[in-house]
Symmetry: C2
Subunit: 213 residues, 2 copies
DNA sequence: AGACTCGGCAAACAGTTGTTTACTGAATGA
DNA sequence: TCATTCAGTAAACAACTGTTTGCCGAGTCT
């Protein structure tokens, strides 16, 4: 009827909705279970769909897992990017940057518990494709952090390899902080944040005195 | 016939043998799969035993998993204990202690790949009892390290809480080093060791300069 | 020697599983 | 309007699952 561009897409929208239902159902089930123990029927049942319907969207459960990985890190990636962008605005104070980074991680875990749990659980899980997807995404993450670190005056004269190594250390510490937030209830949250900050500061101090006694 | 104490135990020895077969089969299967995806029949089949036989040894697959956890950390615990005992013999040189610790971890991973992989995989896995068993064991581990750190002259005047926090950081870094060894092939082993040493040294330097600019 | 313990087995139970098949019916494009 | 596309379905497939049952027979104790 309408000759505008809004006519087409009802079909695709419905498909996307089902796809979303599958992803959500999977993510939900994976809060209490491992991906290698998940079943196609289980997911479709939770998504209110016929078992065969699954294969209209994913060839595999691993494929669904990989998509969840991408979604998991997409928004975290954005948040960290924003936090790093504040770097200049914080007057180049590393302490403030550390505080901000921990805040961002805490907020992210609070809003996306299921995604974070999924990542922690499958990072070393039994499904190779998912493991590799997570590793690749974390590598991109470290790239970003390394770029930000290189801009700090403190790293003047540091070889790129060492900056990269440092960035990986920071990422690993932040990931560990995230899983610690997960495991701690809301009451232990402050303590976890305190520990995470101290760890990061320890690294920061070590970095400043790296090239002297 | 014999009135010595060696007569009894044939029964128990056979039982232990079957139990061992189950544990070994389980550990083997868990190299490519997650505990929450493992099946009783799968394990008994791999152990050359009837499905019902499993229940003579374990009530659950989780129970088998918990035993694997205990076995996993028993020998690592011993190795670290030995390494820490060398502390005095190494002339209180923190650098040497770091090198030694990384060596110990590398050797441990080399000899007990399957156990280490199992720990990394189930540390955040879908089976609560196993997760908690691993967490408890790692806490004991950190106790030991904290005890050793407190003896170092460097930590004179440090409050116990901070020493403890430091110990947990070291343990986490060593665990991460272990899983990194796993994922790196034999060719990347040296690189992983180098990275691990640098990370630990960074902490060490940070600790020395913690209470000054 | 005889009674007894108990690790392991075969069989049966009622489900579950992944995947393919042919189909239906609504959204689509001409 | 009519033919086409295609997301979702129901049904069937053979194979698999965890757990219980009754039983056997070798090791153990007296």
């Amino acid at each position: 009827m309408s000759h505008s561009e809004g006519g087409t897409g009802v079909r695709q929208a419905q498909k996307q909705q089902s796809r979303r239902a599958l992803l959500d159902a999977g993510l939900h089930l994976l809060e209490r279970q491992n991906l290698s123990g998940l079943g196609v029927r289980e997911v479709t049942r939770a998504a209110g769909m016929s078992p065969a319907g699954f294969y209209r969207h994913f060839p595999d459960l691993s494929a669904l897992g990989v998509v969840l990985v991408e979604e998991s890190l997409a928004n975290l990636h954005g948040m960290i990017r924003a936090a790093l962008a504040e770097q200049g605005g914080l007057g180049d104070d590393p302490e403030a940057l550390i505080d901000r980074a921990v805040e961002v991680v805490a907020a992210h875990v609070g809003e996306h518990r299921a995604y974070v749990r999924f990542l922690a659980r499958e990072r070393h899980g039994g499904v190779r494709e998912v493991r590799e997807a997570i590793a690749a995404e974390l590598r991109r993450f470290a790239d970003e952090v390394a770029g930000a670190l290189a801009l700090q005056p403190v790293s003047a004269g540091w070889p790129a390899g060492e900056v990269r190594m440092l960035a990986e250390l920071y990422v690993d510490l932040l990931v560990m902080a995230a899983t610690a937030f997960l495991e701690a209830g809301p009451e232990g949250e402050a303590e976890v944040a305190r520990t995470a900050r101290t760890r990061l500061r320890l690294i920061s101090v070590g970095r400043r005195h790296w090239h002297d006694g």
